[in-house]
Symmetry: C2
């Protein structure tokens, strides 16, 4: 007993944030080991270790950036390994960890609940276990429906086995916002098939809009019980989410009207713009070679990827809520109001501080990443910015430079995918000792601000 306690003592001294970072690192290690098995590869294919590690990090963080072509490199066994990593990375290692605990019949204690709470960013403890089950079942259900629809529909393109394999991998990759493809060219083969694009957009949105929103929508639709009011969080994140998609599509149309969209029909323009806007939320799949867009569109898409998906989703970036709070904060401040109110609710100062810190840290991180990478790589600033925002937002779009990057840049991108996925706050707090509140105060003194 005393040996047991001593062995696990160091785990008990870790904060939930540190444990989450640790579990993700553990998942990456397992994923790397799996992808080191020869059975994962096409016969005769061998890739450098750095690329194996890169694909493992990219899969666990559901980013989708890859220096190698998945169908040319990996076997069908490899496909299933990657799909499994996307599931674990997407739904959240913590969530699945809890499932295992439930399955093993163990009671979930406060510490474990706290862990899930931090990973999925849930603010209230109660109903966490039920929530986790709901999330996993919901995701699996949506994926299964996606698999059936896509697989069956693909029978017109492929023979049966290949059709359902493509349907399976496609549904998992879209729903987890994994961004990987086994077509060899993302969704470009389906650039004229609006049905495939529509299903993929629905799956990407379902994954990126945030689990709490899915749960609340489900409760609203199927449970006519006491809870009919949508939470402040659900309203704020959903409005921001769709506002960003519309804004993104409109801007892409505006910026590409005389370039990529020249001579195209209105429905082509709408679908190209809409899909490429949706995919910057964190999907990473694309229906065209995004490097064909202009530099301005790349810059704008970089900012969309930087914002990323909703919190408690399969996406990354600073998150839609963070962006919304920062915008509201600026507007409220400019109008000289003291407290921040949205939908007749007051926002906590602490949440505001978090949003601001996340945004400023992210800006600094991206800026210095671009600076450092531009020293070692021959690519243009906007190509580098695009790749870095794609990694930080765990999006997975690329202007085609991933395979040509140096080992240094690949390592840096892995770090960004990791930070983007676990969130800058978790990353920051994973270095932190347990919080000690200072009880003494110094005298206040004003400071002049620009």
């Amino acid at each position: 007993m005393s040996i047991y306690r001593r062995n696990y003592k160091w785990i008990r001294t870790l904060s939930p944030f540190q444990l989450i970072a640790l579990f993700y690192l553990f998942a990456v290690t397992i994923a790397t080991i799996l992808l080191s098995l020869p059975i994962a590869y096409e016969p005769g294919v061998d890739i450098p270790f750095i690329d194996t590690l890169f694909v493992a990090v990219s899969a666990v963080s559901v980013t989708g950036l890859t220096p190698v072509s998945i169908p040319e490199t990996f076997s069908i066994v490899g496909y299933f390994m990657i799909a499994l990593m996307l599931q674990f990375g997407g739904i959240g290692i913590m969530t699945l960890g809890t499932i295992i605990w439930i399955v093993l019949g163990k009671k979930i204690g406060l510490r474990e609940r706290q862990l899930i709470m931090t990973d999925q960013n849930q603010s209230n403890f109660s109903g966490i276990v039920r929530l986790v089950l709901q999330i996993v079942l919901l995701v699996l259900l949506i994926e299964f429906i996606g698999f059936l629809i896509l697989g069956t529909y693909f029978l017109q393109y492929y023979e049966a086995g290949e059709a359902y394999l493509q349907g399976f991998f496609g549904a998992v990759s879209a729903m987890t916002n994994g961004g990987f493809d086994i077509t060899g060219a993302s969704l470009i083969p389906f650039q004229d098939d609006y049905f495939v694009q529509f299903i993929n957009m629905m799956l990407i949105i379902a994954g990126a809009i945030g689990f709490p929103v899915l749960i609340e929508v489900k409760q609203y639709l199927f449970e006519s019980g006491e809870r009919t009011r949508f939470s402040l969080f659900a309203k704020l994140t959903t409005i921001t989410f769709f506002a960003l998609i519309v804004l993104g599509a409109v801007m892409i149309v505006f910026l590409e009207f005389n370039h990529f969209f020249e001579g195209r029909s209105w429905h082509e323009i709408i679908f190209y713009a809409l899909f490429q806007s949706v995919t910057t939320r964190s999907g990473g799949l694309s229906t065209m070679d995004v490097s064909q867009f202009t530099e301005q569109t790349h810059l704008f898409m970089s900012s969309l990827m930087f914002i990323g998906a909703s919190p408690s989703s399969v996406g990354g970036g600073i998150r839609t809520t963070t962006f919304a709070l920062v915008v509201i904060f600026i507007l409220t401040f400019a109008r000289g109001k003291g407290s921040i109110r949205i939908f007749r609710r007051e926002v906590h100062n602490e949440d505001l501080n978090r949003a601001v810190v996340v945004t400023l840290m992210a800006v600094l991180t991206v800026f210095f990443s671009v600076l450092v990478v531009s020293i070692v790589e021959p690519f243009s600033m906007s190509e580098i910015l695009f790749e870095i925002c794609s990694a930080f937002g765990t999006v997975g779009l690329s202007l085609g430079i991933t395979s040509e990057l140096t080992t240094f840049t690949k390592l840096l991108l892995m770090g960004l995918m990791f930070i983007g996925r676990i969130g800058i706050l978790t990353f920051l707090f994973s270095f932190k000792k347990e919080k000690k509140k200072g009880n003494y105060h110094y005298p206040k003194e004003r400071v002049i601000i620009g």
Copy 2:
């Protein structure tokens, strides 16, 4: 009497912020009219109105960006006009306005004091009038000393009249951080003359470090009275100011070691790096063609110009204090502390909010400016970013694209110089109605942050 009151009623409804914006616009108008006089030009020279307006805005905002060569375009009368605009723009139109009031024997009322307070960002009302006098006298004294030293020293380069003209314009341009030159090539003619460079750096620093710091240093040195403690503001801004200069110089050496600095002596490297770092605080003069630096150095210098000078100085940007508070805010938050303490003083939450809003607004402004300008201009992203940060920081450095810009971009840069000089907060608040505090509160609800 009733007519008098009716006529000025609208002025009384303006906030101090609105009045400052209005006065700056007024100064630009006067400057444009002055620069429209043929006597300001070299014989036979005629420039488009947009360029006249650009030089006027650039001079009043002490930026130094110009689409035309000053010595090739303007006459000696024009030089003196520009020097006068730099004085008014540098020391602050409000400050000089007050001087005029004092000279005219009028008593300075609360409203006027408030005006100066906002322009020079002073937090306490008392001693404002004395302060203004001190500032103006100090600036004129430093400029006069600079003029004597530079003019006399220049006798080895020019004949007497030209030497003292160069000395006069050079001292005014350096001390007000105007960044204009009448050599035709900034300080490049003096790239081997470390004495001229040293004097110019001292003048630039004196102008950019902030008037309150100058006043406190003067009090510390010459008045052995009660006030010996430096204010929190003076300590914070001075440390940040010099830290940025050292960081900038070190980074320039690091980034250019195998490029621009290859084969140069250690003293050349030190002076080139130090001068080009100092000048990004807001000076705008340079001892070399900065376009010879690498793209990485341009990116880094853009971020330095974005930060800009100290508040209550002749510079622009988000200001050093803002940057320092944001950095301290992030660090304090990461360490989980509740209140922000520096030098045994607690920082007001309101100041923190201001710093954060200024920074975020500035990031958004620069980002969208780069996006918009890159649509209409053929230049690279980093050239455009450099020009935009130079305008926003009222620095005046350029990679040589200013004269080739479209009218649209010139207008946008004028806007940025204006915003950079009056400060984003003043700009924001110039749209604001008088502050009404909301006394009711909505129930608080937590929001999930990334």
